[in-house]
Subunit: 383 residues, 2 copies
């Protein structure tokens, strides 16, 4: 059901011919109300795509009635003409729905630097609007896939409110938003400012702590739309927790489907002087190609982990660092602890626990291994 699980939403997904494969590539999500409060979080990459510029502008109203999404082209680095294409897409979608362009957010994903084939996209939007359905969430989720091998959807019911979500993203997963398009929906009654605060918090602790390959996309977008159809108004803490749980679910799905990955690695940094230090250390380890290739090879190479910690400016004494891998204290006080051979790395899930012994803060960064398949996918296909 994904985005159509909450009351007040319809969605669809169709094949418009943007993808060479002929797979579905255009999705529309519509909020039928009665309310239309919304919020968005966007890539912090300064080179960002036309749809990001447009949607950020649209969201200044705090309201959103529809989202049109396409795979098969990012519409990034396409100049003023690319922006006109995004605008035309919003106009066309709005006209088909009896709305104004200002009510419609646009999301695109695919190859950077090429114009979208508008002669295919606009008829696709018309087709998608005609197919909008209260159970169309699954179709929409499939239409935004690129190198994803499975659609990612989530549904959460809590306190009389339903939350739904869909996500795409399988590579270029990085800080300050993993590459991805995410649309969240809820039938809660919520003020735009609350949705904005809740979404920012949720992203900061979930998507922002994914770091699959250290690369940040030009198109990352996370939107939340509320219909108010449930008539229930959650408190801000409850709303925040619900969006965080929903995002956490989707973030784990993104990680598990990361291009070519064979391991989901959770790096938890404890005993940090600050949460920022914990995030910095976790991210440095998550980004080390040597750490990532070691895990691909089932090698509990704690020396590479210490080396990655050592390049940060976090507070720690190198001779006080402990590292456990899958529960085995393989490095104690900055030197060899338990024998390497006692670490079992045969499962997909890997837990790395680092204690800096420099304070009481902690954070978890999630990443993948660096595999032969990652290199193959990202060298053989242009994205």
């Amino acid at each position: 059901m994904s985005v159509t699980a909450p009351g007040g939403f319809r969605a669809s997904g169709v094949a418009a011919g943007l993808k060479a494969s002929g797979g579905p590539d255009v999705a529309v999500v519509v909020n039928d109300g009665p309310r239309f409060e919304a919020a968005g979080v966007f890539t912090s990459n300064r080179v960002h795509a036309a749809p990001v510029k447009w949607s950020r502008q649209v969201l200044t109203t705090g309201l959103l009635k529809a989202v049109v999404l396409n795979s098969g082209g990012a519409n990034a680095c396409t100049g003023p003409l690319g922006f006109q294409d995004t605008h035309a897409t919003a106009e066309h979608t709005a006209a088909a729905l009896g709305l104004g362009a200002i009510d419609v957010a646009v999301c695109s994903t695919g190859l950077i630097g090429e114009r979208l084939p508008m002669d295919k996209l606009l008829p696709g939007v018309t087709d998608a609007v005609g197919k909008l359905a209260a159970d169309g969430g699954g179709d929409a989720a499939r239409a935004i896939m690129t190198t994803d091998t499975v659609p990612k959807t989530a549904v959460l019911r809590r306190d009389g409110i339903t939350y739904g979500g869909m996500a795409k993203g399988a590579g270029m997963l990085a800080p300050g938003l993993a590459t991805m398009l995410v649309v969240l929906t809820t039938d809660a009654v919520a003020a735009s400012a609350d949705l904005d605060a809740a979404l920012r918090h949720a992203c900061a602790y979930t998507f922002d702590r994914l770091d699959s390959d250290g690369c940040m996309s030009t198109n990352d977008t996370v939107l939340v739309l509320s219909s108010g159809a449930s008539g229930v108004t959650p408190g801000l803490p409850a709303l925040t927790q619900a969006l965080r749980d929903l995002c956490d679910d989707l973030a784990r799905q993104l990680l598990s489907d990361a291009e070519g990955s064979t391991k989901d690695i959770a790096i938890t940094v404890r005993g940090a002087a600050s949460e920022a230090d914990a995030v910095t250390v976790g991210r440095s380890v998550a980004r080390s190609n040597l750490v990532k290739t070691a895990f691909f090879g089932n090698d509990p190479n704690w020396g590479r982990i210490l080396s990655a910690i050592g390049v940060t400016d976090a507070a720690f004494d190198p001779d006080a660092i402990d590292v456990a891998i899958n529960g085995v204290p393989i490095c104690v006080g900055g030197a060899a602890g338990a024998d390497r051979s006692t670490v079992d790395l045969s499962a997909r899930a890997v837990d790395v626990s680092i204690d800096l012994h420099a304070g009481t803060s902690e954070a978890t960064i999630r990443t993948n291994d660096l595999s032969l398949a990652y290199v193959h996918e990202n060298s053989a296909y242009s994205t």
Copy 2:
């Protein structure tokens, strides 16, 4: 000839059994004078090896009479006992040479986190001292290799002075020193302070601008020893230029032998508001796994380059960036320029030229592609 090309130096390399392969793994370089001024630059990784702690301490005198180096073990993350091992190695070498331990720098390279087999290393040092020869530079260069496929040496003769050098390093090549051990020698007459200033400058523009895989080692060491045997005193500018040329030669050799690489990529950033901005942008592009895999696949994917530029805080307007790959202006004003198919990426050397149009500064960062072989080497072997 490498380090024994200048007058006043002897060297040797022997197999002590540290490497499972049985290959040479212990080297000694001796300065017979008449002068002994020296300088060193070390890894800025806060997790650094015992030999780095020792050699940094030794260099505070500004003098050095010998260097003992081993492959087959990094002696990093080995605690106080590891430091004792380094000290014992210096003592043993000094005794065999009739020197004090304070005259002897120590360099180690290999797996992090394991103690060195001193029962093999010390007899190896004795053997190496016995084999010291005025033409032993080649043997020494071979004894410090790890995953290197070829020894790296350089010789430069200029203004009556001879400069020599050897280097090892093939992975974990990163900023603030590529992983490597480098020993430079010269028969120039030079003050320690001049050697120090010249070496720092030379490293900053050569090794510090290599970024093969973004990982900084715990053991990086660059030493320069001067014997004064030529009787010629170069001015500081000439000394600096000579060391820079020598380091540039060795840096290119390191890059060309980087683990599993199929491309040597020079990323030149022009039109930057400052040299620091140029370095930041170049490094961000050099570290992007998506850029690196694209080059492995012979794909001139300028969108990934723009995306990597966009995550920096350098001064630029995204719509003003130009990118040329091997001379083809593939991105003009932040959007598509010449056709992708006109870029020839069949050669090993790749030139990426980025113009930020934000100033007059420039810098070149050198990196490699990210290949299937890199992942294979770094997942299959523990280093």
